[in-house]
């Protein structure tokens, strides 16, 4: 145990991820089936939007492949979040069961430990599946695969995962006051996975405003996609807002982390 603490956080994290992958590989066939199903599922979701669009041509001026980019950017970030830091999702349960206390008495940062312990590293292949879809849609939508665009995409992806993490961390902190947040988490998941797949202007000025300024989920995929696709005329506020995504992510992360620490200072165990 003492040795464990001598390794740096990065090695510790990678080591945990390896263990988690090995654990999952016990059900090898199911694992490959799952990976393939992710590929098929993403493709099917986009195909269905394609079916709609062959009758309706465009959603708010976005073509099928543009929607495909929008969708897969979101899916990639969402799956990335689940792969690398889904631990925050469990904090609510851990408060209820008292499991969280174990993580609070170690010398490592509890948030880091929880994230590493419950990372779903085996999902990395799912991310690859989604990335394939994204690459396909991007090429169809005419996005150039230049180093600049790839770097831009990497920045957007990291920001999107960070936005996910920050918002779920806020919910997890609320859970420290022994509120049940599972319903809220489901709501958030629904908003991200079901609603963000379409351009936000279809939700009207109010919806777009809320998703930009109140809960800035539009920075997960909408503004980045608009920037990558160089959409100009039909983007709420403007496509260059995509460049603000890393800034938004950093601000959110900072605020959420402060809130989390504040919550921990007041945390009283449920005692179970």
């Amino acid at each position: 145990m003492a040795d464990e603490f001598r390794v740096g956080p990065v090695r510790f994290y990678l080591h945990t991820l390896t263990l988690l992958i090995r654990q999952r590989m016990a059900f090898r066939v199911n694992y490959y089936l799952m990976t393939l199903s992710v590929l098929i599922k993403e493709a099917a979701a986009i195909a269905l939007i394609g079916v709609i669009l062959q009758k309706f041509h465009a959603v708010a001026g976005w073509t099928i492949w543009e929607i495909g980019v929008l969708y897969s950017l979101m899916a990639f970030a969402n799956r990335g979040f689940y792969t690398f830091c889904a631990g925050v999702l469990r904090i609510g349960h851990m408060v209820e069961s008292g499991e969280l206390d174990q993580f609070l008495v170690t010398p490592r940062n509890p948030l880091f430990l929880v994230s590493a312990r419950y990372a779903c590293a085996w999902r990395m292949l799912y991310n690859c599946a989604t990335l394939l879809i994204l690459a396909f849609c991007s090429s169809k939508a005419g996005v150039e695969f230049s180093p600049g665009n790839i770097a831009l995409f990497a920045v957007f992806a990291v920001s999107a995962v960070a936005i996910h993490f920050a918002i779920y961390l806020v919910l997890a902190t609320v859970a420290l006051w022994t509120f049940r947040v599972s319903a809220m988490q489901e709501l958030l998941y629904q908003v991200i996975f079901e609603y963000l797949r379409y351009p936000i202007q279809i939700y009207g000025v109010v919806g777009a405003f809320l998703l930009t300024w109140l809960i800035p989920l539009a920075f997960i995929n909408y503004y980045p996609a608009a920037t990558l696709l160089a959409k100009t005329n039909d983007v709420f506020i403007g496509p260059s807002l995509g460049y603000a995504a890393p800034l938004v992510a950093a601000l959110l992360l900072f605020a959420a982390y402060r809130f989390w620490n504040f919550g921990l200072a007041y945390y009283k165990s449920s005692g179970t």
Binding site: L33, A45, K55, F56, R180, A183, L187, Y198, I202, G204
Partner: protein, 263 residues
Amino acid sequence: MKYLAATLRLQFRTTLTFRFDLAVTVLRNVLTVCCLFALWTALFTGRTAVAGIDKNTMILYAVASTILGVFLSMRVENNMAESIHKGNIALMLARPIAYPLSLFMDAVANTIVNAVTRIFPYLIAAVIGFCLAECAGMRITGWLVISIALSYILMFLYQVLFGSLVFWTMDIAGLIEYRDVVMMLFSGAIVPLYFFPDWLFRMAMFLPFQAIYHTPLSIMIGRIDGSDAAMAVGLQLAWIVVLSLIARLVWRRAVRRVIVHGG
């Protein structure tokens, strides 16, 4: 006195968390309905009807499909997978009630709970939505009721068939994903089959999945009625017969496998 106060406080808290959950669920459903409104309104701008379906009918279809989805959500495969993992299956098979029947009862109980906690909030949301949009044209006929009941049985059979695979694969999570994809594509749950290209529409009509969503929803929006509705319901019945025969066959083989495991 102190005890009473404590009990009351506890009760109050439980109700409160329940209410909070319920409030969030209602909010979620309102959002779902709003989203469907927004999406189809955006799609229909500048169009009156596509494939013979106008905007209001489409919104009605989409919302009804969502509610039907909640009604049809049963966790039969998960139930089966769980009893196999835990080894309960041996007990289940030894019970005086046939296992598939007990699964069906579980599913019905689950649906009733769902009806209270999930469908009811949807209905509130939907009613509010339709009042706003003055959406008309919903037809509740005898055929609709029968057809929804048959959809339920079909969905159950489909899940039992899929769930039986767990006897061979031992884990179900990956397989359920496939089931969802097939369902999503060919049942008409998300996009009406009427919007499909011709060849895909014809293909979907040959599969059992259209009998689960497409049939009751088409009856509801008045797209098929009279003798056509009777035909569609007949087709549902035929699928029930076919699927139960297959399920029976698969089930027998599966049970034999359990005996092998336990022996």
